[in-house]
Amino acid sequence: MAERREHWRGRPQFLLAAIGSAVGLGNIWRFPYVAYANGGGAFLIPYFVALLTAGIPLMMLEYALGVRMQAGPPVAFGRIKKGLEWVGWWSILAAFVIITYYAVIMAWCWNYLYHSFTLAWGADAKDFFYSNVLQLSKGSGELGNPVMGIVIGLLLTWVVVYWIIHKGIGRVGKVVMATVPIPIILIAILVIRGITLPGAAEGLNFYLTPDFSRLLDPHVWLAAYGQIFFSLSLAMGIMIVYASYLPKRSDVTNNAFITSFANCGTSFFAGFAIFSTLGYLAHTTGVDISEVARAGPGLAFVTIPTAISKLPVAAAFFGVIFFLTLLTLAVDSLFSLVEADVTAVMDKWGFNRQRVTFVICLIAFIIGLLVFSSQAGLYWLDIVDRWVNNYGLAAIGLAEVIVIGYIFGAKSFRKFINSVSEVKVGVWWDIMIMVVTPIILGATIVLSFYQEFTKPYGGYPTWARISGGWAVVVAIVILSFVLMLKKARGRRKTQAKMPQKARGKGGKRR
């Protein structure tokens, strides 16, 4: 007898889990800066166009694949055509690489949460972050020792993730009921505090005043598509896995609309907290906002802590609120990535969930401990993140749209989507999947290649870019073929509900 696949207990659980996965650190530390750097308020126009023409169609594709195949990416792609299973493994392995360093960023957040009670960074947040918290070495070649504070935070992160994941989708569904609304409420508190500070209006002007001339720059459009693609948790297998835990005839299109709009709405909202605070910082220090505006860890762990320490009242309280926001934003993105890996392994080989979860968490912890928690961890994190995003995820997204658009057939896939969905999609969806998205993702990859060869990323030495960047991407590709060729265990293979036409001899036997 085939085992029954677990299901979400209701649509709200699924939607919250998907929104929690999509809404992550990038919404707070990447979107506001990308918007500011690409035309301010005018950026919202390409951003919205990218959402409608690439983000939502791709989200529909991944949801539909999960709902229809009732399996994680490797098995799902394998059912489309024998020999395409590697596309699924590709996304799963990319997700695995991401969890090894994403957990370390969470470890930094735990450290800062602890330090924010006393505002331990004092007047020099930059020195505190690089010298005290990271104990950063002089270069990527000097790994040094694992930093104890980060190791403790890392261990705490993996214990929390294991606790959430190991019992299955039921516990995930309960956890997201808290971890998704909480950061939204915390961001609202930060927005209210931010916009009532002196200088906030100046900051918001930087964020929102439109420069329409920038719309003629193709880089602005590529930035908009890149932001949409990377912030919706696409091409990492997560949305396919989450949708595979929905019943077989669940809605696809409306769920995609809700998830995508909720994610982008959160990014837009978070921008008010960030830029009003930057406006306040510029106001109190007398420097221009363009001097303090930045993205990534520098924003979250240097600039915002500096602004927090200058708050007139309850600075420690808002420090705690800010780092709690980061932690609650990051945790559901992290466990969704782990869940994607766990489900993929379980679906193919039928191993016990608790054992698979433990092994994946342990391996990711060890890699995080040895590489990203070291004194050179920030350098390696930066290199691996750049390559996995720009070459790995973009290429996986490209492979997904080619498989569905040209091998499965966009028209018949759309027919399935419309047969189960509340909002019907027209032929525009086929055009987006077959033409627009492949062109954009292809252009992103080509542009990244061009930039890499004309101006190597980050000024890192060649050996570091090869071993931390290219080698990781190549290893993901090779390993995805190895995992595809590794035979599924006979019993479990037949347990998976294969479509009649794709069912082999094994399916008959049991």
């Binding site: 919202l44 918001l204 002007n205 709009f261």
Partner: protein
């Protein structure tokens, strides 16, 4: 804030939160469990 900033603030709110509200009102009643209209209870087992 500048007029341009206010206009883009309104634009962002309308397209992003308007889009979210639009999709939420398109959820069909009775679809919370399966995404599909639940069968009524009119037909009972004999």
């Amino acid at each position: 804030m500048t007029t341009g900033a206010w206009i883009m603030l309104a634009f962002g709110c309308v397209v992003l939160y308007g889009g979210l509200v639009w999709s939420l009102v398109h959820i069909k009643p009775g679809t919370s469990k399966t995404g599909k209209q639940q069968k009524g209870t009119g037909r009972r087992k004999r």
